[in-house]
Subunit: 233 residues, 2 copies
Amino acid sequence: MTNNRDSCLNCENNNCFIKRYSPISIIDDVNKNKMVSRFPRKQHIFHEGNENPGIFFVKSGVVKVYKNGAFNKDQIIRFSLNGEILGHRGLQKSTIFSVSAQTLTESEVCFFTREYFFYLLEKVPQLTINLMLFYAEELNQEESKLRDMAIFNVREKVAKALLTLVERFGLKTNKEIKYIEKLSRQDIAELVGLTSNQVTKVLADFKSENLIEIEGKKIRLAKKPEMENIIAI
Amino acid sequence: MTNNRDSCLNCENNNCFIKRYSPISIIDDVNKNKMVSRFPRKQHIFHEGNENPGIFFVKSGVVKVYKNGAFNKDQIIRFSLNGEILGHRGLQKSTIFSVSAQTLTESEVCFFTREYFFYLLEKVPQLTINLMLFYAEELNQEESKLRDMAIFNVREKVAKALLTLVERFGLKTNKEIKYIEKLSRQDIAELVGLTSNQVTKVLADFKSENLIEIEGKKIRLAKKPEMENIIAI
DNA sequence: GTTAAAGTGTGATATTAATCATATTTTCGC
DNA sequence: GCGAAAATATGATTAATATCACACTTTAAC
């Protein structure tokens, strides 16, 4: 059944780790062990603290990954999209989710059980090595982020949040940050450890300095180089 | 030559990833490709930005791993000791060190070239999988740290730094934090993104509240539960 | 469409944190 | 053991941030 319309072979997500690093010969088997689910907007895919049954891949849509913090101050870890691995942080010895994942848009998600995925890792060393390298890269990024959060003030943090979103989602031709209308001020705040109040104020500053244009939730980044200067070190 | 006194087989570091997950049959080969170096106190093992020739393991001693930040504000990433892997963040696609490593005490370090280590990874899937799991665990810890730094105030950050050191190094029977006399106020500050000045002040507060006892650089954590309450969520 | 609820914008005020100055102590080389 | 240099402790001052209040706007439910 490798030629049905849901087969990995027909999947447009060439970003998918499994597809990129596994031999064609095993894809049929992968496909048989795959479970695809569809989630509407604002739904949880999994919750921090719950039992982790396996690993997910984002087939389509945008997913917010975050960690619960004290005093209702959550921390957004990343946004996942376009075939990216999801819940890979759950691939540790503990089988408890250390993060939560919630859809920002309607999304399709592929799922594999822990058992099957570990079987695959044993079988395909290149998959394992590349997954390891991916982790190393993520670890470096997290550390840069940590350093930034330790050093930046409120204004710089908001600039950082906007530039992070541009890097992740990209700009439309009119310079509007893609998907930003799906995010609340609270979401932007939780990317960089601020309150929604602080974000609103700095955004108002940026607007009055003509660095950005605001239209409801939409934000157009008129002057990206100037914004980058704010956090230049 | 597997029975010389420097052989991995005789090494007391059972924490060592290679030794733990590789078959005995390969250890002889590992040993031939190993280079052991000794570093005096306060020496650099490698520098951020330099070419990364391979991977290290801490055979003995305590090593500080840190990242350069703006305005002389470095960020301490971790302390490595007792057979732990070092420079694993360099095992990414880029061959440039993203961190620096400096000894806090006299230390012995084992080194393998990139080429040999990747050869080993291809050959020993269990080593690769367990290294990947180790990364996943580190990534989770980094994310918790990131969240904490985003949420904690100065007082809470100092409490967090002390508890991190206790977790890492342990307490002596007199409740003194091990190795803390090797760290400056600046080091403690760089663990949690503060200045040495701020650390000094909060430590004075903790002392006057009888949470800790200070004697030069030595700190005894008299009331660990109370300290933990400061950062309880 | 109407209404309630949630989210956003903005100012005032209280609190916290950063910076500087300087005294004191500790460390290190000779 | 002595002197210089570095690190640490502490107070005063200035700057930045957090918090609250409340008006306004948008969103969602009925």
